[in-house]
Subunit: 562 residues, 2 copies
Amino acid sequence: MSRATPQTATAETMSRQQREISVSEFFLKNRHLLGFDSPRKALLTAVKEAVDNSLDACEEAGILPEISVEITQTGEKRFRMDVTDNGPGVVRQQVPRIFAKLLYGSKFHRLRMSRGQQGIGISAAGMYGQLTTGAATRILSRISKGKMAHHIEVQIDTRKNTPTILKDVELDWRPAFPRPAPDGAFGIPEASPHGTSVTIEMEAQYIRGKLSVDEFLRQCLVANPHLQLHYRINLLNKEVDAEGQAATPLVEGQWISWMRLAHQLPVPPVEIKPHPHGVELGMLMQMLRDTESRTLRGALSEDFSRVSSPTALDICTRAGLDPKANPRRIAQRDIEGLFKAVNETKLMRPPTDCLSPIGEELIAGGLAKEIQAEFCTAVTRDPTVYRGNPFQVEVGLAYAKAGENEGLSGDDPVRVLRFANRVPLLYMGGACAITKAISGVNWKNYGLAQPRGSVPVGPAVIMVHIASVWVPFTSESKEAIAHYPEIIREITFCVQECGRRLAVHLSRRNRENEVERKRSYIEKYIPHLAHGLKDILDLPGKEEDRVVQILRKMLERSHLET
Amino acid sequence: MSRATPQTATAETMSRQQREISVSEFFLKNRHLLGFDSPRKALLTAVKEAVDNSLDACEEAGILPEISVEITQTGEKRFRMDVTDNGPGVVRQQVPRIFAKLLYGSKFHRLRMSRGQQGIGISAAGMYGQLTTGAATRILSRISKGKMAHHIEVQIDTRKNTPTILKDVELDWRPAFPRPAPDGAFGIPEASPHGTSVTIEMEAQYIRGKLSVDEFLRQCLVANPHLQLHYRINLLNKEVDAEGQAATPLVEGQWISWMRLAHQLPVPPVEIKPHPHGVELGMLMQMLRDTESRTLRGALSEDFSRVSSPTALDICTRAGLDPKANPRRIAQRDIEGLFKAVNETKLMRPPTDCLSPIGEELIAGGLAKEIQAEFCTAVTRDPTVYRGNPFQVEVGLAYAKAGENEGLSGDDPVRVLRFANRVPLLYMGGACAITKAISGVNWKNYGLAQPRGSVPVGPAVIMVHIASVWVPFTSESKEAIAHYPEIIREITFCVQECGRRLAVHLSRRNRENEVERKRSYIEKYIPHLAHGLKDILDLPGKEEDRVVQILRKMLERSHLET
């Protein structure tokens, strides 16, 4: 050690070591917080961030999304990811910051449901690629037919969290997607006049299974039936599956495509203003400092949702403040009074058109594609609010037909599919509010076995979707939902409703099975019974048939009465 | 809604919504990531951040730490926290940034074990206070007898992540700590010539129990026997315990003090340089760009640990590079070759004096204070490495004496105490590598019952400490350790060693109990046996006593032989 720290420091020597930490440095060191803790997960996270961005951009621009995902192995532990969409494209000046600056984006500051919300994801994926391979993020983007595309390559200067542009040229590029030819093979690719393609090379590992890119994309289609998706993997060698055994590549080098099932975009969510009951004291102070209104009354009614001008006047009166006061000059003590008055005022709940649920019909449809079900139900609850943020829970439950679903055993825990704002969550199930809510329900009431404190056991799939203007994730990697009591409660209610429906189905089915069993049992003995009766009552031979008929009718009647 | 988002956006309209997100805004919205998701946890997190900083500062300055923690209720859901230490103090210019700027500090950029590592904690606590009460963070600090103290009040401008100074005055303040008078009551407080006091008012809740400030401080003392601690709670009403029942306040309004047990500081950890095998390609590129050395060989030997000048030459040769080359001008392809060469070169493991373990003796001593144990053991393993970061695991295990430990039942899961760099971790046990490692051990081998996949059941306490230059936490709130395989493996080995020792103890104890049971059983019948023998053999009366003696001797011999 040439420069050991002195054994004892003083306030002065310690002060010289203080310095700013850039957010990029912070997350580079803590990259497991962003989902880049293992090579396998890194590949999934990168694909997820790119696909999320593409879907958000398409929906915001009113374009039915078409996306291609291509994963190409470039070395033993190296992969290149290319994700291309038919979205609106990104204007040239914004490309470097969107793709190579953490905490930069359009979605953080608005209250509206979207997949991205942090302004971290895709830049983090690029930063991880840069760290592990030294390669830059390559972006191709075209915003319209009439304009040329841009080819830009960027890296992050992690010391400053700013983009470094390595290449910036115009070219005549258009995003193209494979099209199946009439004979079933893929024909001429079709180009879109606009769209974006992002390429990142990184240290990664491709493994099939429950935590794979394949599974993520499959679940994406369940929650996004309006998505048209193409997927291709190009491997150097045969990949290995989760058990480490070499598997025959299913799709290697071949595009597989899923055509969209819904030909309409979901209803676009609308941006809302903050609801006063979800605003904390410090935030209220900040909002009054920042308002463009000249009066307190105006600030209250214009900057918040559900505050009309008369309500604003009412709040001012209640707080003993002049409604014409300059909102930027209210003393802290008065703001505390205002805060109290706001929270004592009855207000409508926040508007909920900021949310875009999947809907019961499409959830049931999605589940039907997941398994061969003998019973399937879905519930979309009314929106509600946590910390002022509107959110909405949807649950689907499908119970498998016996013997028709490979890999779905009645002795294993039910399969739980978790979604937040239409994005599948694959990792960290144990830490998620969804798992906690499902485990907290007493499933024995609904006819499923359940180990204490765990998810129930049975041949079923439970899908839970939470849609919110701000999903509180347990980490920046957005893999699990934090345990807010309001959210757990809503999920619980929704899951219980599905559970009750399942219980009705199972008890009817069990009863029917029981009756059927008895019936077939009795039916088996009717001829013997008739024969006996004939002997006892000394009936003529042809009466025996009539007795059989009468007995059968009695049996049927009793069956209907059960 | 007055300003609904247009139904369809274009690349241009979308680009106008893009903006930078300040790290303060990000964590304000995501304050659950920092441990401020509930009022109860907020109080604990704030105390923890302040105490961690005080301990780090004292140890760095070679001062035996003395800290007072005072919690004062100021409203129904409002508390003020005052944490005062006898540390080296903070120079005036640094106060605003240390206490009101996220991602600012001295510990992030160096490789040395410390409690703080992010430069977020105490500023985040102040930001939470500001958000929920509008109050500023107040700091009093004095760096020496000869200089006046500073009284500074700061808030964070969350839009910019910069401090706003509300007050900045000099005064003649010194930190003072309660001293017990000879009659046992507290006498005249004793002042230190230097130290820091931080005061934050916040929305909070005080509840006793496993997740309380009380418990945190108690565990702090276990891992920091050199700490002298004073604690006082001032409540407006009686507080309620975890079950919501009013409890008699134990310490309300009265200082309770714990005198230090160890009168020497732990061996101060030494800062190290990065180990080449833990440096990723992108980091190597950055380090070569930033080096102060003029030659590649110099950069390798001076900026990394365990690379001597001959080894550096060897690496250059292996990579086919000129050792005299300018390290800032090496082509990317060549750096890739260098990276490969570095990883193919055998190097000593990183030095481990950057770590400061608690030690087996003090761990066993700490556990002995926790429970009345019939068996107690501790193991400190040799340091090892994950991602180039040295770390070290210590485990203590204490098995309770039957009937002498309230609240420790043989039917409940064992109590697990988790520590990272001497800081107790109370929340998120389920997500922690420590819990995962303990649950993964087969405890039936060691004589404890264990539900499948859970921690074992029994009247025992297991304490696990991980010391590292960089502890990978699952979130910024630093409550649980991420599941790095290397870390889980080390904890597992260490826990297994303690388990084996427990098994030896339990099997010896069971054998002794069994023998004791047999012995007392036989002893009970010796007189009858002797009497019977006397009758059968027709011995004289006094022979009966001799037979009893002989039988007792035989019994004792057989006992020794067991």
